[in-house]
Subunit: 158 residues, 2 copies
DNA sequence: GGCAATTTAATTGTATACAATACTCTTCGA
DNA sequence: TCGAAGAGTATTGTATACAATTAAATTGCC
């Protein structure tokens, strides 16, 4: 083993992001407590408010979640009266997620609550845009290298 | 309800961070597959390589995780031979997490693998520093407003 | 038309997360 | 020193995540 540098937790970008992600979840989850929505349920509702009805697969593409996560999540949203899950007639494999009238009716209340959260965060649109742009770069790079990783293994000894 | 702006998923910083966090987890988890470490197990090992032995509480402070998460995680690390869990003699409430010799021996291999991952990511130290600084600002703000949220509720109508 | 390959959801199994609770041990004040 | 308060860990219950598998439906290809 050649000389290696120590890896310190506090210098890891991954941990910074992991930690920020958890804090955001708690923040929105408690902001949305009056509606009884968890964070993943909330982002599912965001997509549905934009585009319902959607199939489980389409929703999963937007949220980057698979049916293993979404099926139980959507069953909970259904039980709580936000959505309905109906087999498509034209393609019996698909399940269409529709919004209930209750969900439509509560949309603006949730939008308004989120607007308040964004205000509390106190970031300008420019700051948010710039941060999201950087994050996209990182994510793209992660997608790219995830495919190259096996090659990297072969240059293990440098 | 006053006029509200739509909330679009793709404009949410929280989702960008949530998504990036998941990608980082997968990236490191597959990079560390030869060692059999999950991402949370890996960051726990990072802290222990810096500072072992630590109590569950001390480890939790560094990782921002509680005993509900750490106890089972540490039991798995113990079963896989990375750590030992021993009740402190001076304070029977505490459990000290020690590294095994195997863990000490594998440290540099893991450090090296992570070094390769950082190289693959292709970011300069400055880029990483700057991004982490921005993230600290966001996290601090989230910590601050999490305490003020109840007050915010009272200015609901603006 | 008939069947293999593909697509879509659901299921299973493992591993986080975290709130809430329980339990044990320690500390601290009367 | 005795008991209440507090600290540290484990447990319980709920909700994600995701790999891998299953099952049903559709599509393609002959």
């Amino acid at each position: 083993m050649p000389k290696v540098s120590p890896v310190l937790l506090d210098e890891q970008l991954c941990f910074s992001i992991y930690s920020a992600s958890k804090k955001f979840n708690h923040f929105y989850q408690s902001a949305l407590a009056p509606f009884g929505l968890t964070y993943p349920q909330y982002i599912a509702m965001l997509v549905l408010w934009e585009d319902a009805p959607l199939t489980v697969h389409q929703l999963g593409e937007r949220l980057e979640l698979d049916s293993g996560t979404l099926t139980p999540l959507l069953k909970r949203l259904e039980k709580q009266g936000w959505v309905t899950r109906v087999r498509s007639r034209t393609d019996e494999r698909q399940v269409l997620i529709h919004l209930t009238e209750t969900a439509e009716a509560k949309r603006d209340e949730v939008y308004s609550r989120i607007g308040q959260c964004q205000t509390l965060l106190g970031m300008t649109d420019n700051e948010i845009d710039s941060m999201m742009t950087e994050l996209v770069t990182v994510k793209d790079q992660l997608d790219t290298v995830s495919h190259q990783r096996l090659i990297a293994k072969e240059v293990d000894q440098d």
